[in-house]
Amino acid sequence: MNCNKDSVNHELNLYFDNSATSWPKPEAVYRAAELQMRQMCGNPGRSGHTRMLEADRLIYRTREALAALFKVDDPSRIIFALNATDALNIALKGFLKTGDHVIFTALEHNSVLRPLGTMRRNGLITTTMLPCSLEGYPDLEFLENAYQPQTSLLVINHASNVIGTVAPLRKMIESAHKKGVKVLVDAAQTAGTIDIDIADLDIDLLAFTGHKSLLGPTGTGGLYVKVGIDLKPLREGGTGSHSEIDLHPESMPERLEAGTLNSAGLAGLLEGINFIRETGLDQIREHETALRRSLREQLMEMRQITVYGPEEAAECAGSLSFTIRDTDCGEIGYILENNFGILCRTGLHCAPLAHQAFGTFPGGTIRLSPGFFTKAGDIQFLINAIREIVALTEKG
């Protein structure tokens, strides 16, 4: 395919990959992470001097801010992890016991599919995949018949990282709880863009990442663990407490945290959460929904394009996927970047089962994920670029 490179403005670099990691971050996020590294020495929880205490206070405030965001009464039930993948591993490997049966949706990311796959291949657990519709909605009737006496956990991807469909969390949690089954929610795509009331929804375990819609740095994330659920720690080690015994503490949050925390990252994450609180989750959601609606409508005007996922933007979060007839999505992504300075993601997005459900396996899709800092004009530039590419595909 030939494109006219003279028409390209390489300086623009429009960013449509916020589902991978959000960019840019609020200015305060960069500043806080740098300040933490420059001024706050000392290992949180260890040394006892005043600078260490400052680091501890910052980590405590970040935990409190997350607890407030998710409507959790007790901040000690939020533990820090490297990212959502890490948190999901802590949850799955800490919760599941030999002989357990797990139900997961077809929309799950490899961060769920791979730990479960390993445990299944090792003969530790059995699993059932909950199919979903072409629009990405889990089959609730199938769910009702999927429970077994050994079923201990239902894993739900709150929003598909491929097509953005938001799962009917309340209905699914109520269904699981009626059967005495706990629920693990993967909120990688939704924390910071959709209001999640953990207490009201009665969520048992919720994994989140800091570097997507929470607008923090990479290397931050965490897991909410409901009171009464005791996870076997995945890691043990230094916590700064009870150093005289070779037994990891039982008290949360340290029970599930070992080693030095990412205090610079968490300082940035706190500012990301502060930005969300000051801006208002509703306003963020409204802006992103409007962008998605406009993007989808204009993509749908091109007959060569197939857009996946629900028509109604308000039922989605984050990602929007499309394909152009008879083209390789990888090549389209390459042209978008090299000829138009537009950054997006193409392929399977670490969610192979979702693509099988949508009929886009193994070729994948072109995924566009605007964020809060995306402007309406950016969408227009993107659409014009896609129109140009589609016109070129017609010429062959």
Partner: protein, 92 residues
């Protein structure tokens, strides 16, 4: 010679939680490194005047803050202090 009282915590989370809660009220206290003579638990302890200990302990207990131990120390410069562990029911 000075008499001070100390509260120790199972983890740093509860030490900082205690500080955060008490700062919002009119309590007089200081966060200090745990005196090695009393505990090797979390590295930060709360030091207060002994007559205030009962109210501080009660306030923290009422606000979901786990504590590990309560101590009274007779401190004399750099000499090893005389330590007395206190039970919550013996506080006034």
């Amino acid at each position: 010679m000075a008499t001070n009282c100390y509260v120790t915590f199972p983890t740093i989370f509860y030490a900082i939680r205690a500080e955060s809660l008490l700062k919002q009220k009119d309590f007089t206290f200081k966060m200090v490194p745990v005196p090695r003579s009393i505990s090797s638990s979390c590295g930060t302890a709360l030091r207060c005047a002994c007559p205030d200990l009962s109210k501080i302990r009660q306030y923290l207990a009422d606000h979901q803050t786990e504590m590990e131990g309560l101590y009274q120390l007779e401190e004399d410069g750099f000499k090893m202090p005389i330590v007395k562990e206190l039970q919550s029911d013996e506080l006034q």
